[in-house]
Symmetry: C2
Subunit: 302 residues, 2 copies
């Protein structure tokens, strides 16, 4: 599983500061999270195959999180995509996209399916054999969700000594790791739990941007493997957080620490800061395993 | 006067192939022509001061000519612009922009004034003391205009021998070049035409993209200093022009030759071509002074 950062800066795009966009690869399912201006160029630069993206999640309708979407959707058509594309986004985005397609007489070459988000409570919005996705209600200047991605459990772990001791034919191994019971050569039924161990804990990823400090998300994201939490400001500018509905690096660290996540990634940095390492340092005061997002950086996790 | 190419490629933006956008500086008036995705980053890279742009001209509502506009308008607000901004564009753009501003509760910090283009005939859309702008009706898959920018005449040329012979006080020189008559020290009236020559011919710039080969634009652009004409294809792919409503490099050359322009600039190259010098070569068969557009290239003209 891996998370590729395409952009992690707030507001205005600049030459080396791309707005929010990420690609999450979870059990082979490739998903785009937010899509600021220039995202399609960033996807090309990271050599991510456009056609593998089946789901796009948009946290909220501020431009730095979605202005790149219409261009990407148009490019999919130019590339003659035919596979379904699902957009999970707040109310309003469908109207914006469809209006732009209409004025250019440019209908998509593929089914474009909008899933409108409007709940103020966490809800399950995607559930397939690879993963599930829940919204994380956030608090920003407009209606905003984070997203919690949970990988589905993989195969059970084969206890090789046990199956060898029972002389079970290798042909059964595949069904055993899928959870099936098995018969020995002499016709004795052996229960699956005696031949396998639980699969390793499934990784999960929580994306939380943009939001004011909101500790009530902690129960939902407790134990998450990887947490991306916005940190637009340093503590020195905390007074700006209430008005703009953003968080500081320290506040992101507190969320990570309370939720007991494995690793915290910081992003959505304000353009006012030149030295971004200060963000890591500030969060580390409360939570040790923290790393800044950076365009092109890949976070692998299992 | 100078024309800065920000992007000159068709359709999908790629790392080094930016969609159409140009900045024209004419008598100190800075104007943006088309605004594909990523234009604001290109403006920054060329160190063009955002606040100096007062007029934006959009040729047509295909994404590669306007998807960067909403981001640029939002950035103007983030930069606390207060000066009026005028957008000259086909019907539909105002609705698109205002819808996007509304969903994000992000009204502009400055007066944003739309001038809707819908005429099928050439019309004068801007006329001030520095220049005039006319539409050039083009023929593309959607309603499309080119734009003809004509600089206003500068000061008349002072005939220095004549004014010195008549012993005219230097204090009058400024009003003489503006076209005023003057009195000699002994009270004799001298007519302006006896003291000045016509100012040098005023430069003009015609922007023609996107369009199928359309020779009926020739009378309007005859004698233009600089002509940008789209050349999406080479002659080898001319069969694609009728369906897609684009031109070849040779067709652009024919327009330039018939209109007797000083220089032809080619652009809007299809992504299928690797060797863009073939475009110049093809057009040169019919018109000698031709040069490819290129991101970051500046064409100076007087």
């Amino acid at each position: 599983m891996q998370l590729t950062i395409l952009g992690c800066h707030s507001a205005t795009p600049r030459a080396n500061a791309h707005p929010t966009s990420q690609v999450l690869d979870m059990n082979g399912e490739l998903m785009l999270i937010d899509c600021g201006e220039g995202t399609q160029v960033r996807l090309r630069r990271e050599k991510i195959k456009f056609s593998r993206i089946r789901h796009i999640f948009i946290s909220h309708l501020h431009g730095d999180h979605y202005y790149g979407l219409i261009g990407l959707l148009s490019t999919f058509s130019l590339l003659n995509r035919t596979a379904e594309l699902h957009i999970h986004a707040p109310q309003g985005l469908e109207e914006i996209i469809k209006l732009q397609l209409r004025v250019s007489h440019a209908y998509t070459s593929y089914p474009l399916i909008f899933h409108q988000l409007d709940s103020r409570k966490a809800e399950l919005i995607l559930d397939n054999d690879k993963l599930s996705v829940e919204t994380i209600p956030l608090s920003h200047r407009v209606y905003t969700n984070g997203f919690l991605f949970k990988a589905k459990p993989g195969d059970r772990k084969l206890l090789i000594d046990k199956v060898q001791n029972l002389d079970i034919d290798k042909a059964y191994y595949k069904s055993i790791v899928k959870g099936k019971d098995v018969e020995t050569r002499d016709g004795r039924l052996v229960r699956n739990e005696d031949l396998t161990a639980d699969p390793r804990p499934e990784p999960s990823y929580a994306f939380c941007s943009d939001t004011v400090f909101k500790p009530d998300i902690v129960p939902q994201i407790t134990g998450t493997t990887l947490l991306y939490h916005e940190s637009t400001f340093l503590e020195e500018q905390e007074h700006l957080c209430e008005k703009t509905k953003h968080s500081t690096a320290k506040q992101a660290g507190i969320i990570a620490q309370k939720a007991g996540v494995q690793k915290l990634i910081l992003g959505h940095f304000s353009a006012r800061y030149k030295n971004l390492s200060l963000f890591e340092k500030e969060a580390q005061v409360v939570f040790d395993n923290v790393e800044n997002a950076e365009s092109g950086k890949i976070f692998r996790f299992e």
